[in-house]
Symmetry: C3
Subunit: 270 residues, 3 copies
Amino acid sequence: MNINPDKAAENLDKLRELNPLVHNITNFVVMNYTANALLAIGASPVMAHSVDEVEEMVQLAGALVLNIGTLTNDWIESMIKAAQKANEAGIPVILDPVGSGATKLRTKSAKKILQSVSISVVRGNASEILSLKDEKSTTRGVDSAHSVDDAEQSAKEMANELGTVLAVTGPVDIITDGISTISVHNGHPMMGRVTGTGCTASAICGAFLAVDINPLSAASTALSVFGLCGELAAKKAKSPGSYSIALIDALFDITAKDCKSNCKIRNESK
Amino acid sequence: MNINPDKAAENLDKLRELNPLVHNITNFVVMNYTANALLAIGASPVMAHSVDEVEEMVQLAGALVLNIGTLTNDWIESMIKAAQKANEAGIPVILDPVGSGATKLRTKSAKKILQSVSISVVRGNASEILSLKDEKSTTRGVDSAHSVDDAEQSAKEMANELGTVLAVTGPVDIITDGISTISVHNGHPMMGRVTGTGCTASAICGAFLAVDINPLSAASTALSVFGLCGELAAKKAKSPGSYSIALIDALFDITAKDCKSNCKIRNESK
Amino acid sequence: MNINPDKAAENLDKLRELNPLVHNITNFVVMNYTANALLAIGASPVMAHSVDEVEEMVQLAGALVLNIGTLTNDWIESMIKAAQKANEAGIPVILDPVGSGATKLRTKSAKKILQSVSISVVRGNASEILSLKDEKSTTRGVDSAHSVDDAEQSAKEMANELGTVLAVTGPVDIITDGISTISVHNGHPMMGRVTGTGCTASAICGAFLAVDINPLSAASTALSVFGLCGELAAKKAKSPGSYSIALIDALFDITAKDCKSNCKIRNESK
């Protein structure tokens, strides 16, 4: 399998051609930004969380994104029901365990989802990913208290145990299925100054999974393309308000050629 | 009745003079954008959905906007209670049946609202409007799968049956009370790349209804002015992040003179 | 105690050095904007409202911000539980009584919070603050129907009765602990055309309280710095869409030197 800039370019083109519906059950803080990001890159977002409609809605979608920020218990039921239906229909599911490790509710809920349904990709920061393995890991609110390096070994073990792809994002992103590990060297520090860029990274992974059946390839190329958009935005804006807007613009403006030239994706030796 | 660019200009001026309170019970994705749009054009938005306060809040308002995106069952109860109180007090009510046709919950809820209370204007895309007539119409998430032309005849029939104005928006907007039909030829394709522009169109209809007692005239002029703002924004921004901001700016910057010169409102023969 | 531009500069520097976590239980309309504002100025925001996690989350935080916009009853329980835990742990709590005076639910809830827990700072517009003293005061949706002058005497009395700092914001902000009263002469009218600037002012007060133990000093300097950012943004943008973005940029760009030169904080004689 070749996971490289050409594959990123191919996925981007396919996304824009197929315009897949991405069903998000996500947190209140980022709903608007995530929807705009998905629209900008070429997907069609829908946000729906009622237990009375998620099973129906997800069947229209090319991917389901579960995000546990601003969580309450009733949302967990909706997430699991939607994901079960997605599993039955062969629709890929992404989990973003926002704030896992910060509170028992978040950690337990993320683990419950992982035990209840089949997840294609889990994307989180190092603390969030570590908390899924180890009750004792702590997350500072929604910010990581650990480096990506700390989480790499655990991610590989968890990927094997759970049979899912783990994507640990930070200055360098590590994406692993337990056998192969990819590192992505795109992104910009200013992304950390805009709320919801992590959540948006997960949603973009969802959009790529809707057009690329291989979770390792879909997540790696999605994170590389999104990181590259972060770099392009930094050329337009130096402060976080205008940067957040420039990032949406970049998701719309980025071309397959940009990806071929500037996506930095490395296949790591084991 | 003359529904024309001069009327659009008159309504815009009146809106800015009277600064009506617009009560929104709307979805989580668009709350912030809608509030900013209403503030920019000269209305005063309030978002309140608790069943314990909506009846009191709506009585302070010049219009009530109901929007069923990100719906759960408890919100329907609030919407109906608020609308009943609005009906009693003679306050106009707008319904935006977001995603009706995509799930049974949405379709049923939109129909239940229409059967329970008196609605002045229903604004939706073609699929949403068709779904209100015909269970079999389908909506792709929150996007239309039908053209405005498909919906025109149904809209006229429904307007007659329900005694409400139907506004079907798309590249051309059709607004009908079943007897007279208006078409609006403003707008810009980039509006479809910003989440919540449909919802915002409905909220702007609410603001215009607060100052223009005729629902056909209020909705037609509102959609023309909002579409013209979309055209003005396209002169400032080419990508959807900066476009979304330019659209809010345009709602603030647009003048009565702009409306007189560039609103494109046609009275259709039956 | 010296509450002056130098103290504002000192607090801003300390905020950026310590990067305190600010826990917000706030309304849906402003969650995203508030989070971005806190990130921009140098704090670390977390939004969490579930009764199952707020007590745990607040203990990680340097301040807790309670905001009753888009209120429902279940949120009140979460707010009180979180604030009780904050009180036990010595973490300062800010209350923003959004829309108090507009509906009984809002007024009662604000009063219930004030009676149940210890609040360091209450920030609101004149109508909201008056409503806390007097059932008969009315608020127009979420907008003030009274001037700051109207509220000043009541604020002083309430500060004494409740043992909290009252901050009444408007063209001039009045901040009082009942003994000393500070006036802040920063800000820009365009701030009133962006939704959530009042809520954001409260959140910034929270961030300053996390680094300045004196509530009168923290709230006064926070409001002055935020108002100054509003002035700086007005130099960059004339319309409310671009202004809202320029305001986030200003929160990031503002320096201690800007504060020393341009914060306008006056110690009023009693």
